[in-house]
């Protein structure tokens, strides 16, 4: 069932390509229907999966037997969470780009191709397949930014593409090395993740290969100091592009770290645990600090993404169940909230005012002109600060709880990051929407376009998701937890010798 998320999405790309060039309306509708269908399939498929703690095979057939590659799609609880996130992000992204007029059909074709690739990564349990989908997402990303972006879009697109390629090459080198060693041990070539998760690589090997693979993935997760693509890319991208970049693409990186690097090289992970936690906390504090001094509204959100993804990495570095639970939940939560923040800033504010400079926005009193945007941003901001009742709180709460046991001092330091987070969010609310500065006279000849129904739907959907998970974290925790708790799971090796719990 879940495999259909991928097929439907790519089918949507095909249909879009066949549409006449100038029929923007049809393109939008096809894209929206495709995304909704994908989202529904993701939900139904996820709910149908009776045992989220185990890897349930969806389809497995030979692909390239010579190197041991299979066409192997499967899902466990973590995949389910991220697939559902992708479904939600895809639908809301389309709702927030309803106003794209320039080459609409191509825009949505690239958009859906990106979504299809993301679904693919989250469902692949074969390394080659996973890598193919992973690479597949880079191309639409590049074109979405370079063609439909703003503010130094070619630079942003190129930087993002180069960083992604460097990352995937590091991953590729590491994985080829692992493949060779595993072939020697197993006696046959294999790229099956489950099989590889049982292979024992020697300590010396893990010590060097693990950082290659982990960092390769973590670049895409925005790990400090390899994060610089993220703010530039987010700012340059069109609204839906930023929503997807922050919402799901950064999760690809974190997912790769967890599913591939950590599962295959648990001893390497334990050796580098400290370094990763330190970089994660550096990202939390640095990202928040830089967000505090930005003049461009979108840069604030861009750097805040770096800071929030730091919590994901910190959670991964704890290597205990609660921290890992928190990391996966934070992936979901940040996907929803960052998507919403970018939606407000990019679509509701920038597309109407054509500026993102706080000095200009301060004179506009947007809180009065477009109150819906103001209220939405306040709610999203509050959720992003990690106030209880929203998903961000439960997620960061668990990450910090897990981190206490391993790195108490770093945990206290990351508290500083949370505080700066509060400060920059308040600053953005104040400067962006409710400033006391002398207002510029309102131009009555060009009244501000009212918030459209599509935008309202998108915003309400994301706020609802964050609230529901904030109040009933059990809905997702029931999927995530068994993955880490079960002694038979692929993560068992990672946790058992952790020594921390």
């Amino acid at each position: 069932m879940l495999a259909w998320t991928i097929y439907i999405t790519f089918l949507g790309v095909l249909v879009l390509m066949l549409l006449p060039r100038d029929n923007a309306r049809a393109a939008r509708i096809v894209a929206l229907l495709t995304a909704i269908a994908g989202c529904v399939v993701a939900f139904v498929g996820a709910i149908q999966q009776t045992n989220p703690g185990e890897v349930t095979t969806i389809v497995k057939t030979d692909w390239i037997p010579a190197i041991g590659a299979n066409y192997y799609l499967a899902a466990d609880g973590i995949s389910l969470v991220l697939v559902v996130l992708t479904g939600l992000a895809a639908v809301s992204g389309i709702l927030f780009s309803w106003n794209i007029e320039k080459r609409t059909k191509e825009f949505f074709a690239f958009y859906l191709a990106l979504i299809g690739g993301v679904y693919g990564v989250f469902l692949s349990f074969d390394l080659l397949l996973l890598f193919v989908f992973y690479e597949l997402t880079i191309i639409p990303k590049y074109f979405l930014i370079a063609r439909w972006g703003s503010t130094r879009k070619e630079y942003g697109a190129m930087k993002l593409a180069l960083y992604s390629f460097v990352g995937s090459h590091l991953v590729l080198i590491g994985l080829i090395a692992a493949w060779v060693v595993a072939k020697g041990q197993l006696g046959h070539a294999s790229l099956d993740l489950i099989e590889l998760s049982k292979v024992h690589f020697s300590a010396g090997f893990q010590h060097w290969v693990f950082p290659l693979v982990f960092v390769g993935f973590a670049i895409l997760a925005g790990m400090w100091p390899f994060h610089t693509w993220a703010p530039t890319g987010h700012v340059a991208a069109p609204t839906a592009g930023s929503m997807l970049l922050a919402g799901v693409v950064m999760k690809l990186g974190a997912y790769g770290c967890l599913r591939v690097a950590m599962v295959m090289f648990p001893e390497g992970m334990r050796e580098w645990q400290w370094a990763i936690a330190a970089l994660a906390v550096a990202g939390i504090v640095y990202g928040a600090g830089v967000a505090l001094v930005q003049r461009d509204f979108k840069f604030v959100i861009g750097y805040s993404s770096v800071s929030h993804m730091g919590f994901v990495l910190l959670g991964l570095a704890t290597l205990n169940t609660i921290g890992l639970d928190g990391a996966v939940l934070q992936m979901f939560s940040h996907g929803i909230i960052a998507g919403l923040l970018f939606g407000v800033v990019g679509r509701m504010v920038y597309d109407r005012t054509h500026t993102r400079d706080f000095n200009d926005l301060e004179t506009m009193q947007l809180g009065k002109l477009i109150p819906f945007a103001g209220v939405t941003f306040v709610i999203a901001g509050v959720a992003s600060m990690g106030l209880p009742g929203f998903s961000g709180f439960v997620a960061e709460f668990q990450v910090l709880m897990g981190a206490w046991s391993v790195f108490p001092k770093l945990t206290i330091l990351s508290g500083v990051g949370i505080l700066i987070g509060v400060a920059y969010t308040l600053r953005a609310i104040q400067k962006g929407f409710y400033s006391d500065a002398q207002p510029k006279p309102v131009d009555h000849d060009h009244p501000m376009e009212p918030i459209s129904v599509a935008e309202r739907f998108g915003a309400v959907m994301l706020i609802g998701a964050s609230l529901v998970i904030g109040l009933f974290p059990g809905l997702l925790m029931n999927w995530i937890e068994p993955c880490f708790n079960s002694p038979l799971s692929m993560f068992a090796r990672l946790l058992v010798k952790g020594g921390s719990q």
Binding site: D325, L387, G389, W404, S405, P408, L419, Q430, D436, G474
Partner: protein, 517 residues
Amino acid sequence: MNHWLTILTLVPFLGGLVVAGLGTERKNLARGLALAASFIALSGAVCMWMHLDSSKGGMQFEEGPWNWAPTLGIQYHLGVDGLGALMVLLTAIVTPLAILVSGTLFADGKQNNSHVYYALVLWLQAGLFGTFTALNFFHWFLFWELGLIPAFFLVKLWGGPKRGPAATQFFIYTMVGSVALLLSFLAIRFATGSFDFIELAAMAKSGALTKALEAHFAWKNIGLIIFFGAFLGFAVKVPVIPFHTWLPAAYSEAPSPVTMLLTGVMSKMGVYGFLRILLPIFPEQIRAVLTPLLWLAVATIVLSACAAFAQKDLKRMLAYSSINHLGYCLLAMFAAASAATAVNAPEIQKAAALDGCLLQMFNHGLTASALFLFMALIEKRSGGLRGLDDFGGLRKVVPVFTGLMGIAIFSSLGLPGLNGFVGEFLVFKGVFPLAPWAAAISTIGILVTAIFLLTLIQRVFCGPLNERWTKFPDLTTGERLLVIPSIALMFILGIWPQFILGAVDATVVKLVQQLTF
């Protein structure tokens, strides 16, 4: 199984939702509905108070514990004892008063969006109810923070000229405290596996909590570090000097009805946190750093009184006076936590101090909110002027106003026969044997309070009449009805404090037992 406390919290919350949906135009309906919701909450709170079994010191009207997110130790667990019920009652009394006096904010049409304002007030009330009834850390923290957001926007959107910085400062300070508090509780949860206040208190009494903490973090004195984190959270909210600097700005920039809520009940959240969480869970740590804590309490009392004396703005003066009054609560709590080996029958003294502390919380809520209510009425008449020297001789033109506000002021400075006296008397009666030097220095605070409050009366109401105010209108019948309940309660509690003491006594006895080990 009953659900009274849940329903009580839901009333203002849902009321807020309805009011927020009304739209800008229907101002009177918004106000009416908000009032109705707050009166329903008041009657609910009074019913609860009447049904409180005063012979029991434990939790009553308990709901749960039901599992909410079991793996995280999050449970839905509500309950009130004498302390919780008292705070719920206070919140329920102050909120309708604040709503009633808010009408003036929107009367001249300069301010709009009254529906949002009333909704935020009701949500603030819901947050307070939730805070005072929750017994699981997560659940409690949710409401603790939920109260902060409406308060922030009430100051930010309807405050005075410097509202922006004041609101931001208020928010950031409180968040610093909250984050420290959160981290501390995560560490506790990690070490003990529990978020339940009652369970944790039991562990603390047997000494298991500190042992568990030290065993889990190979870090000496981790107990103290965790204690300081939690302490910071509450100290900012009360506030304790030197964490108070947000308060004068926030109280004076907020519109007066909002200040009533801030000082009347939100500041009690901090004191409540000390009593419900800090004292039972960290008695060992408090005892270890008792002397510095007592110094902080003394500093809070004396310095804030002196600062109030130096103010020229009436609202700032009352703001500092608020800090001063809550300082007595701190003094009582810290003294009650002392080992007091050299004292005869320390339990009795501790009980007196804590009785005084609880009474003082209620009294201060009542009196301070009444004083800010009078400030709202003064500002309405003076067009926003509120300097100490802007008035003079008002006694001649507004005798009723002068008389009633005078009663509130005398209650604030602790005149026998009015409510303020009994609370402070009990605090000092208990603290003198337990920590004589602290009590002795703190009396300076009482003295200075008397001086600046009398100065206030003298400058504003006595002396030659300022020509500008010859047309200053006296209290209307509606306004008299508005202030009479508070004034009446001041007399009732001054003469018959047993009304409250009787109900909280069992709770205090239980708390004292908790502190004796």
